[in-house]
């Protein structure tokens, strides 16, 4: 079980990690600034295994891979949204962080609720109810299963 951190629609990558931190040498040095403009305590409060749940168009804006990377570095297990902006979606799969489309979950849960994710069966358990998730295209599922695009490349080599 992990706790839910809830966000609304059109959360852009500047709000996930602002520009002034992007040129910090490593993701480790950036991660304490995650969601700084939306929830200044997020980085302190989030624990490994927690979830980000959002409305439509999560991760819109820039191509900065730092956005999914800081979430992963803080231990966020997956992001579940009604829809994702395409670059954020692709970047997340590439770094091995599950991104899951669920049209129902956001409106049914509150911040701080607990949920469980069953990746293999594509289901979410929250508040005693089971939600099914949209399946990834096989190509993307394969990349995710191997732990991301670099792991997949190293396997090919």
């Amino acid at each position: 079980m992990g706790r839910i951190f809830k966000f609304e629609k059109d959360v852009d990558t500047d709000q996930i990690i602002a520009s002034q931190y992007l040129l910090f040498p490593t993701i480790e040095e950036m991660k304490s600034h995650t969601f700084e403009s939306l929830d200044a305590e997020f980085a302190e409060n989030v624990r490994p295994g927690d979830f980000v749940v959002a409305d439509e168009n999560f991760g819109c804006g820039s191509s900065r891979e730092q956005a999914p990377s800081v979430l992963k570095a803080l231990g966020v297990k997956a992001v579940i949204a009604k829809s994702f902006a395409r670059i954020f979606y692709r970047n997340s799969i590439n770094i091995g962080m599950p991104v899951i489309v669920s049209k129902e979950l956001h409106d049914a849960v509150s911040a701080g609720d607990e949920m469980e994710l069953d990746l293999e069966n594509g289901t979410i358990l929250a508040g005693g109810k089971t939600y099914s998730c949209t399946k990834l295209p096989q190509k993307m599922q394969d990349i995710l299963d191997q732990g991301g695009l670099i792991a997949s490349l190293n396997k090919e080599d």
């Binding site: 709000q15 700084e36 730092q66 295209p137």
Partner: protein
């Protein structure tokens, strides 16, 4: 079955005669652009995570330092040094201080028919020259740099048939903001936006780059335009030839089609904090501003500087307002100098900066403080995009931005 421009370019890059929306294809990239926003992370992964580090074809790589040039801190300097040293060691084409990456790419590299990955979301600008440019993160970039290939889901296309001509005092920025307002911030998510029709021929290359550049703000995977005489003239003047020129087949399948009469477009402003939060500029008149910004990959070209200079000539920037003018490239800067435009801006009290991304990405220079308001020709107005999280960014054309700098409040040029 007919194909769209996007389908034709991907088919070509996949070595096939036909592909269609929904197919997943392995493609060979023609060009790979990366800037100082993420390249330091790409290099770290190249050095530390790849089993067999190698570059498939160095000649396809273009690296550009534009986001924080000149460096604003020791951390930035260290990241850029890493990029500079790696580029030198591997013989990668490298620009530093030459301009905003997309402008540098348009002036020097992009060819019609190419498939280009850029580690920057506004790579879709290259569609102005009929190239399929798309933004990627650094892991995708690294994979393509190492293998020369990647995979792509062939996108559906939304087609925009343009007719008529933009009225006097109305600009490409007003057109694309109108379109984004109409289809919303994710209205083109995963899709290509294609522009064609008689109206396209009336638009300059500066207009076209501005339109294609902003399509990612509707979520688009890429933007594409038919290559006509205007595009070919630009290409020839810059000493290049096409890889291939494509137009969609008459029986190509479009997900949606919009007919837009350019003569109906009016000055538009995008209000905080979303690019699709658009209203007629008249509805924002009187909003007090602290700073105005004329520049960026969207509106920092010579045509934009001419518009701004014509508005501000003989006038002064309002007291307590900072007006930043940032040419998009060294060649734009030089031309603006030769045409006397920089003199006009300097006389008005504007701050003229070196070519870079400036306040458009909120971390280089000119950032705004708590409670402040910026009117900008930059690409985005997200919360905190230009500095403090509690600040406000309005987006508008070069004319509206410059008129506002003079008035000290949001103002259209015709009312100044």
């Amino acid at each position: 079955m007919g194909m769209t421009i996007a389908e034709k370019i991907i088919a070509c890059a996949a070595g096939k005669t036909e592909v269609h929306a929904g197919d997943i294809e392995t493609v060979t990239l023609d060009r790979l652009m990366s800037n100082d926003g993420t390249t330091h992370l790409t290099i770290d992964m190249f050095n530390n995570k790849i089993k067999h580090p190698r570059i498939a074809d160095t000649s396809k790589l273009v690296w550009i330092v534009d986001h924080n040039i000149p460096a604003d801190s020791p951390k930035t300097a260290a990241s850029q040094k890493k990029m500079r040293d790696f580029a030198r060691e591997h013989g990668i084409t490298f620009y530093e201080g030459e301009g905003v990456c997309h402008q540098v790419m348009m002036e020097n590299h992009v060819r019609p028919g190419e498939l280009i990955f850029g580690a920057d979301s506004h790579t879709c600008a290259y569609g102005a020259l009929g190239a399929f440019g798309t933004g990627v993160g650094c892991t995708d970039y690294l994979y393509a740099m190492v293998t020369g290939t990647s995979w792509l889901l062939v996108p559906e296309t939304i087609r925009f048939n343009l007719t008529g001509k933009l009225p006097e005092g109305v600009y490409a920025r007003d057109l694309i903001l109108t379109i984004i307002g109409k289809i919303s911030a994710n209205g083109a998510n995963y899709r290509a936006m294609e522009f064609a029709g008689e109206g396209l021929h009336t638009l300059t290359m500066a207009d076209r780059i501005s339109i294609c550049n902003l399509c990612v703000e509707a979520g688009a995977k890429t933007a594409l335009m038919e290559v006509d005489d205007v595009a070919m003239e630009y290409l020839t003047a810059h000493g290049r030839t096409p890889k291939a020129t494509f137009a969609s087949d008459p029986d190509a399948v479009f997900a949606e089609t919009y007919d837009i009469d350019l003569s109906t477009i009016r000055p538009i402003v995008a209000k905080p904090h979303f690019v699709d939060n658009v209203v007629p500029a008249d509805e924002c008149l009187g909003v007090k501003i602290d700073e105005a910004f004329l520049g960026s990959c969207n509106n920092g070209r010579i045509e934009d500087l001419r518009v701004g200079a014509a508005v501000i000539k003989g006038k002064k920037v309002a007291p307590k307002v900072r007006f930043l003018v940032v040419p998009a490239s060294r060649s734009v800067y030089k031309q603006a100098m030769e045409e006397g435009l920089l003199d006009i801006f300097m006389e008005s009290g504007a701050i003229v900066m070196n070519p870079n991304c400036s306040v458009c990405w909120g971390a280089c220079q000119g950032v705004i403080g708590e409670g402040e308001t910026l009117i900008s020709t930059g690409t985005r107005n997200f919360k905190g995009r230009a500095g403090h999280k509690d600040s406000f960014v309005y987006l508008a054309s070069a004319a509206t931005v410059t008129a506002s700098a003079v008035a000290g409040e949001i103002m259209t040029a015709d009312k100044l």
